[in-house]
């Protein structure tokens, strides 16, 4: 019987921006037919802080702390990325020791970030316990960040031309102990979820994206490698000390949630391997290049009031003038935990960037969500968001 008075339409559900499983302030507008998603539209921009624009008014040195806030879960890698770009712009050669320290720190940040990922991803799928196990290990790493930089999250530790301060043996011992134990702990997480039938059912064959599609969508990092594409900035365009350490790039096969999960789990072990090599090969020497960007403080800071100090901070323009002849724009990228994090800087003859653009992997990955979600069930949205591992701070900048 046909009843023309009854109108049938999809149920529109607004998932986010305040939702426990959208990892921040992502808003998804879902059109549901029963439990099946017909349409998924991601809305972003709830965490826009204008970092790119703000950096146009700050000198290169002052911009550095801003990059902490791009991806707040792996601020160390953001700092390194920014420094690599500015160093390329100005032709600053980083001392060996600083390169190794930076590599070590970047890998620590990668472990840190992946720990948050496994914690939240597992929690989204319903395994609560993994969350607390991962947070326990992350705590140790954050303590180590505090030891070297004084901050746990927004570290601002690398500098253009090196790192801020040297590391001591106490730190190295602590890190070495952690790295020795860490692969065992990863196994511990895996025993909880890896061969769990429910976990496999929830992740295998869900959110499939083929290699070609993944490349077309511009995916990078573990999200791309899960589809079987061998691409890693650390291997293809090595920066810092990545040329001098051995490591493998884990690659998946099917491009589903499970393969992306496997890639990241294997990356834990590779990161641990890199850190171990960095500790063993760590050379002696300076930690900051001679021509590194420095802040010239006023002669006697005590006599000048605060307002003047702020205006006095500038970098030595002479250095920039020298290199400005060679470059006017630069793009440099690093392998952030979430993918390729690129900094594109256009400079003019001032001590500030004319324009800075951040190529954020999360932004690109958020765009692929409709592709992954449409046609699947509501519960798969959560698994997909977890598996592409987006941080909205990085997405919106």
């Amino acid at each position: 019987m046909q009843n023309n008075d009854i109108k049938v339409k999809e149920l529109t559900v607004n998932m986010g921006p305040q939702h426990p499983a959208t990892h921040g302030v992502l808003r998804l507008v879902l059109e549901l037919e029963g439990e099946v998603i017909k349409k998924c539209i991601p809305h972003i921009g709830y965490l826009h802080r204008g970092i790119e624009k703000l950096s146009e008014d700050l000198t290169y040195v002052q911009s550095l702390p801003l990059t902490d806030r791009i991806d707040y879960l792996s601020s160390m890698v953001n700092n390194v990325g920014f420094c690599v770009a500015v160093e390329k712009l100005m032709g600053i050669e980083v001392p060996e020791r600083a390169k190794f320290i930076r590599t070590m720190m970047a890998e620590m940040a990668r472990i840190c970030s992946h720990l948050v990922w496994i914690a939240t991803h597992a929690l989204d799928i319903g395994a609560m316990t993994v969350f607390l196990y991962a947070m326990r290990d992350r705590e140790e790493l954050l303590e180590m960040f505090e030891m070297v930089s004084g901050a746990r999250l927004t570290v601002s530790y690398p500098r253009v031309g090196g790192v801020r301060c040297d590391i001591n043996n106490r730190f190295l011992d602590k890190l070495y102990n952690f790295i020795e134990k860490f692969p065992k702990k990863v196994e511990e997480y895996e025993t909880l979820i890896n061969r769990n039938r429910i976990w496999l059912k929830r992740t295998k064959g869900v959110g499939v994206i083929t290699a070609q599609e993944a490349i077309n969508w511009g995916l990078t990092g573990p999200t791309l490698r899960g589809s079987g594409v061998y691409y890693d900035v650390r291997k293809f365009f090595p920066y810092d000390a990545y040329e001098k350490v051995d490591f493998d790039v884990p690659v998946g096969k099917n491009g589903d949630v499970y393969d992306r999960y496997r890639c990241r789990m294997l990356e834990f072990r590779q990161s641990a391997r890199i850190i171990k090599q960095c500790i063993e090969k760590l050379p002696e020497g300076p930690i900051l290049a001679d021509n590194a960007l420095r802040i010239r403080m006023p002669e006697s800071p005590l006599k000048i009031d605060k307002k003047d100090i702020i205006f006095e901070i500038y970098i030595e323009d002479k250095q920039i003038q020298e290199f400005i002849q060679k470059f006017t724009e630069v793009y440099a990228s690093v392998e952030a935990p979430r993918g390729e994090l690129g900094f594109y800087i256009v400079c003019d003859d001032s001590s500030k960037p004319y324009r800075m653009r951040v190529r954020a992997p999360s932004f690109v990955h958020a765009g692929v969500l409709p592709k992954l979600c449409e046609g699947s069930l509501v519960a798969d949205v959560i698994a997909n968001i977890g598996s592409i591992d987006i941080v909205l701070g990085e997405c919106d900048r």
């Binding site: 149920l11 529109t12 559900v13 607004n14 939702h19 426990p20 499983a21 549901l32 439990e35 597992a122 929690l123 989204d124 799928i125 319903g126 395994a127 609560m128 316990t129 969350f131 607390l132 196990y133 326990r136 909880l192 979820i193 769990n196 429910i198 976990w199 059912k201 929830r202 069930l377 509501v378 519960a379 798969d380 949205v381 959560i382």
Partner: protein
């Protein structure tokens, strides 16, 4: 006069039973937080009283004092009735559950049917709350719950048929008495398949992990009770824990021999004869309650379609096979 006497006794019995039950429920929340805390390398509640022992009382006071919010666009009558339906259904099941020999409020002949029937009414509370809340999340949660509970009730009921066949009775006391005739004193071993089906269905029936889809925190935020607050929310919470107790008690009575100890155990250690029946009962019930907590600390959550597939394609056939096998064995021996 006689009738009045019986009514008075029943009211007193009910009141005592109710009080003790509520205490157990309150401390089950505490136990859950402690157990999961220790599974997850935490301590759980530690602040209120020594080792947080007064935490449930603090929680109750907090929930009672909270503002009772009824959103503007809800269907007010049904919105208010839903938690009461859930709670009443959950509480009523305990009327026929024997805790010890003759420790029972109503020893009726169709006890088992009564429990399953009344537990089914609890679903209405959930559907009503999902519908009346006028919220999409609550609506989805309510619908999921309706589908889940209806399909798992079938499996739950069928798994108990084997027990009924063996006991030749629906009376819960009778079922327990029948089990003492075996030297191991429980239906667990001959009905192991039924027990497996029952435990899985019991998890689904009480909306606990790995089947807590109606209230899947991460997808539906809280599911059907997302719009509820204060005391109304706590009624749902209470109903959930009561359902856990009810199902654990049912598992204990139907498969673990209720308040009786296995005769073989008594024979080997005669001193155990002096352990009162309700202690055995509580030990067995709390084992099942612990099972709920343990699974919650360990397992991820199933997806909606997978949950339905397990219910219809695995559990119900298993239960049916069990019935057939039990009947054949029963007929020839």
């Amino acid at each position: 006069m006689d009738t009045l006497y019986i009514i008075a006794i029943t009211i007193i019995k009910t009141a005592v039973y109710f009080g003790i039950l509520m205490l157990h429920v309150a401390y089950a929340t505490y136990a859950e937080r402690k157990v999961i805390g220790h599974i997850q390398l935490r301590l759980g509640p530690m602040v209120v009283g020594p080792h947080g022992i007064l935490q449930p009382i603090a929680d109750v006071i907090k929930l009672l004092l909270k503002e009772d919010i009824v959103p503007a666009k809800v269907d007010k009558a049904i919105f208010k009735a839903a938690p009461i339906i859930s709670l009443t259904a959950a509480l009523s099941t305990f009327a026929v559950i024997p805790v010890d020999k003759n420790w029972i409020i109503a020893d009726i002949n169709v006890g088992l049917l009564y429990v399953i029937g009344i537990a089914g009414i609890g679903t209405y509370g959930i559907i009503f709350s999902g519908w009346a809340s006028n919220s999409k999340y609550a609506f989805l949660g309510g619908l999921r719950s309706a589908a889940q509970m209806v399909s798992y009730e079938v499996a739950l009921g069928l798994s108990l048929v084997g027990v009924i066949l063996m006991a030749e009775s629906f009376n819960l006391t009778e079922i327990v008495n029948k089990q003492t005739e075996y030297w191991y004193g429980m239906f667990l071993f001959p009905q192991i398949i039924a027990y497996f089906v029952f435990v899985v269905a019991m998890l689904a029936e009480t909306n606990r992990l790995p089947f807590d889809l109606p209230e899947a925190e991460t997808e539906l935020v809280a599911g059907y009770f997302v719009e509820y607050s204060g005391i109304r929310f706590s009624l749902f919470y209470l109903a959930e824990y009561l359902a856990m107790f009810c199902m654990s008690a049912l598992a204990t009575i139907c498969f673990w021999g209720g308040w009786t100890a296995p005769p073989i155990l008594i024979k080997t250690f005669p001193i155990l004869e002096f352990v009162p029946g309700f202690v055995w009962f509580l030990i067995k019930v709390y084992f099942h309650i612990f099972l709920f907590f343990w699974l919650r600390g360990t397992l991820p959550r199933y997806r909606y379609d997978q949950l339905m597939a397990i219910g219809w394609k695995v559990l119900i056939p298993l239960a049916l096979i069990n019935i057939v096998v039990t009947s054949i064995v029963k007929y020839y021996y």
